[in-house]
Every structure is written in C-alpha cells, then in structure tokens.
C-alpha cells in the first residue's frame, strides 16, 4: 500500500500532461480517503430498515384489527409512518437514526417524508410562498417527477402489450 501510494504522488507532481495528472490524482485520492465499511453499513441498513418495516406491519395489523380492509390499512400505515417521521425530524431524532441506518431509513417512506419535512423547516424563514412553497420539494422533487413519469411509461407499455394481446 505504502509503495503504491508513493508511486501515485510522483505521478501527480512530475506529470506535465494535465489530463493524466488529474486521472492519477483522482486514483490517488481514492486510495487514501477513508471509507465506510460496506458490509457494516449494509448490516445497519438491514437492521434499521427491517425494524421500520416491522413497525409498519404492526400498524397494518392494528388497523385491520379495527376493521379496516388491507388496502385501507396500508394507506393508514403510510400516513402514520409519514407523521412519525415528520415528528421525529422536528425533534431531531430522525437525523440520528439516518446517520446510523443510512439506506435503511432512506428507502422506506420515512426517507421521503424526511426529505420533504427538512426543507419545509429550513426554508420557512424565507416565507410561505418563496420559502416553503418553492423549496419544499428541492430534494423530493426528482422522486415525484420521475416516479410519476416512469409509472406513465410503464402504463403505456402495459396498454400496448394489452392491445397486442400479449398480456
């Protein structure tokens, strides 16, 4: 490792061709920058994401026990998880959970809820219209736009396949 590193540094300082120098530098920086352990991070994400989903399942079961059907219970569950996330974001607990759980908190609906709540809190100071109004979807915007767009594309494909009697 030490040998390889030294070779890299000399390939940067001595290099006259800027493009080659930049390539070498990128490679060298990659080598010396500490990274998260992928396995550890995945395990943590699995744990946190799993717990969130178990809680969600708990809500579904609870709402069904109150007499809701599956579809309705799912919708209530989503709304409940969103509410919980927003409250946790507001009191500063969610951020700590996300730091630990990474994608485990990002992938469920909790990640989406936090990405809408956070700009709303931050930009409130810039006013209801230009602050919250314009900036609430700065992070979640792409998810909404491309989410809707991709469902439209899939719907179109489904429609064509149906016309062709494939499905």
């Amino acid at each position: 490792m030490e040998e390889k590193k030294k070779v890299s540094a000399s390939g940067i300082v001595g290099q006259k061709d800027k493009q080659v120098r930049n390539e070498n530098y990128k490679e060298y920086v990659k080598q010396i920058t500490p990274k998260y352990s992928l396995g550890k991070n995945m395990a943590k994400a699995f744990l946190v994401g799993g717990v969130i989903c178990v809680i969600g399942q708990g809500f579904i079961n609870y709402y069904m026990s109150l007499g809701a059907d599956m579809e309705l219970a799912k919708a209530y569950n989503t709304v409940t998880l969103v509410l919980l996330t927003i409250v946790c974001t507001g009191i500063g607990v969610y951020q700590k959970l996300a730091k630990f759980g990474g994608a485990g908190t990002l992938v469920p609906i909790t990640g989406f809820a936090n990405s809408v709540a956070a700009p709303a809190i931050e930009y409130k100071k810039e006013g209801q219209v230009f602050g919250i109004g314009c900036k609430i979807f700065t992070i979640a915007g792409p998810v909404i736009l491309y989410g809707i767009f991709s469902t439209w594309v899939l719907g179109l494909i489904y429609y064509i396949l149906k016309l062709l009697k494939v499905v």
Binding site: K35, K99, A117, E122
Partner: protein, 350 residues
C-alpha cells in the same frame, strides 16, 4: 531571504511580496460557536456563543451577528473606535457576502468585500497588509466568518435532512475571527512579542479535476501545495525556515495529501505542519470526520491559538495558508470540478 528581492521593489519571485515596513497585528478577536467552544482550543476563544441562532431568526442573521461581535470585540481589545479604522477587508461564504454586508453595516467602516471561500482570512490579511504597508491605510480590520447551518443550507442539504456524511467530509466551523493591522506597533502588553506580517504569497487557482464536494480537503490540497512550493521558491528557503506551516482547513485527508505532494519536491513538512481544521475539533469525541472547515475555521484558530503562540514566543515565525474551495452549487450541478485556492501569509514575532 532577501536575495530575490530586486532593488527598490517589494516583489519577490513570481507570486510573493516581502514588506519593507511590515504591518503589525495589534489586536485580534475570535467569537466561536458551542461545538467549537467544546473543542481542544475552546478556552482560547474570546467569546463562545451557546445559541446557534445568537438570538436571531435565521442562520444568515446569526452569522452577521457573529461578525459584528468579532469586529466590536477587536476594537474593544485594541482600545480603538470604529472611526480609527480606515478600511475593513472581509468576506464570508454566503452568496453575495450577505453575512459581511449585514454584519458590519452599522460599524460604518469603508469596506472592501472579498470572496476566497475558506481562504478568505489569508486573502483579507494579504490585501489589508498591502494597504497598510503601501501607506494607503493606517489601520485596517481583516475579518471573516462562517456558520455551520448557513453553510450546510447553501452548499449541501437543509439541516434536518437525514443522511450519512462521508469520512472525508468536514464540519463547517461556526465562528468569526478578525485582526487589526496597523502601520505602527501599539501592543498593549510590552512583554509580549510584537507580531508583524513579513510578507505574502498570493495563490493561483489550482484545479486537479476532482469533483467530490464531500472531499474538500483533497480538492484544496493541490492549491496549498502550489502556494507553499511557490513561497519556498520565491524566497529561496526551506520548510524549516518556519516554526509552523499552518494550513486552514485541509483536514486529515487533505493534510496527508499536502505532505505527500511536497515530499515529491523534496520539501518535508511532516514535523512542522499544522492544520487549523484538525486542531479545532476532537475528531473522535466530536464526530467531525475529516476536521473543521469554513472561513471561520482558520480565522478563529489564527486569531487565538496561533497569535498566542507567537506572542509567547513559542513560535517565532509561521506561514499561515488558509485554503478555499471555489465551487458553487450551480457549478457543482453543472458537473464542474472543484477548484482550490490558497494564500500564504508570513507572520513573525519580533
């Protein structure tokens, strides 16, 4: 040190200046946030503000308040009034320098607003010392500030967005630091060493093509390398000429790169290098990853710890090199690399 100075001229080598009548640093002040106050240098700052909003409504107003308090503190410590200061040279990280404009408005000191990202303190002292030594100002204030929340909002995500920070990411320092430069020595305590700005090396923009804004240290290290190398070449000296070579906010990753790059040119700074970003926080206890960053980082460390060491004659001569990453959110979104800049200031206790 003087062999490269041409007759009558103060220009040295390609990018440097050696002052004939070095301006004095007659006063300094540092206002720090809570986290900075809890760090290893906490007891050296003049004021520690526990409230991140400083009683204001927004992060931007809070940063302006930091700067206002720093300017007032430095005047008070020097026993001067705002009318004694000819010009104020300063800037910050926020778009269009709003922390500076709103912060120092009431002081009514003529302003030269500058932007050098986190290298601002180096740039402010450079421009300010030229004004003083050139006879264009008797006294100037060089000032800068940064605020963690304001910087996160401007350059990264809203504060409450939950995500994982990479190990290479740095933590923007909440604080404001400033110094008064004067053409005459006015030190309050005669037993302290007088501190002068001996010379400067203005850095150029250095871009090694990195695009990772979460690894600022690596983006800025080449700029620090080029400026230090140029300083050593211009003055015809070795790194050992300085008791300390103090970079601004390269952090752990950037500092290692800087040492590696300089070693290739046979300059070894491992024994006398120090980075303000590394010094200001306890990496383990305070969870700051690569270290502190922001204009305030080098400014408050310089105006407290570094000047104290010089005053106490523990160090006699240092090279202070704040480093800046000159990206914007637009340039980043448009796929541009992150260019760096670094300005070096030679500070001596005499």
């Amino acid at each position: 040190m003087s062999e490269n100075v041409t007759n009558q001229s103060k220009m040295v080598g390609k990018q440097s200046i050696a002052y004939k009548n070095p301006p004095f640093i007659i006063s300094s002040a540092s206002i720090a946030g809570k986290k900075e106050g809890e760090g290893p240098l906490g007891n050296l700052f003049d004021v520690i503000q526990e409230d991140p909003l400083l009683g204001k409504k927004t992060w931007e107003e809070a940063e302006s308040e930091l700067m206002k308090q720093a300017a007032e503190k430095v005047l008070q410590k020097a026993g001067l009034k705002n009318t004694d200061i000819r010009y104020l040279v300063g800037g910050d990280l926020l778009g269009q320098l709003i922390a500076t404009s709103f912060g120092i408005a009431n002081l009514e000191i003529p302003l030269i607003g500058i932007y050098g990202a986190c290298s601002t303190m180096g740039e402010a002292i450079s421009v300010g010392s030229m004004l003083v030594e050139g006879g264009y100002a008797g006294k100037i204030i060089a000032i800068t500030s940064s605020h963690f929340a304001g910087a996160e909002k401007q350059f990264r995500f809203p504060l409450d967005y939950g995500n994982q920070r990479p190990y290479s990411a740095s933590w923007t320092v909440t604080g404001s630091g400033c110094v008064i430069l004067a053409d005459q020595d006015q030190k309050s305590n005669p037993s302290d060493a007088s501190i002068v700005i001996k010379g400067i090396t203005i850095g150029k923009i250095v871009d090694y093509g990195l695009k990772d804004s979460m690894n600022m240290g690596a983006c800025m290290a080449p700029a620090a390398y080029e400026t230090i190398k140029q300083n050593l070449e211009d003055f015809g000296i070795q790194p050992s000429y300085y008791d300390k070579i103090i970079t601004g906010d390269l952090g752990y990753v950037g500092s290692n790169i800087l040492k590696d790059l300089l070693k290739e040119k046979n300059y070894d700074i491992t024994s006398n290098h120090m980075d303000c970003g590394i010094e200001i926080f306890d990496q383990e206890k305070q969870d700051t990853h690569a270290g502190g960053s922001g204009c305030g980082c080098s400014a408050i460390v310089f105006s407290s710890y570094v000047l104290n060491q010089l005053k106490a004659r523990i160090w006699k001569r240092v090279l202070f090199i704040p480093t800046g990453a000159l990206l914007s959110q637009v340039s980043f979104n448009e796929g541009k690399s992150v260019p760096g800049i670094a300005h070096a200031v030679i500070v001596e206790g005499v």
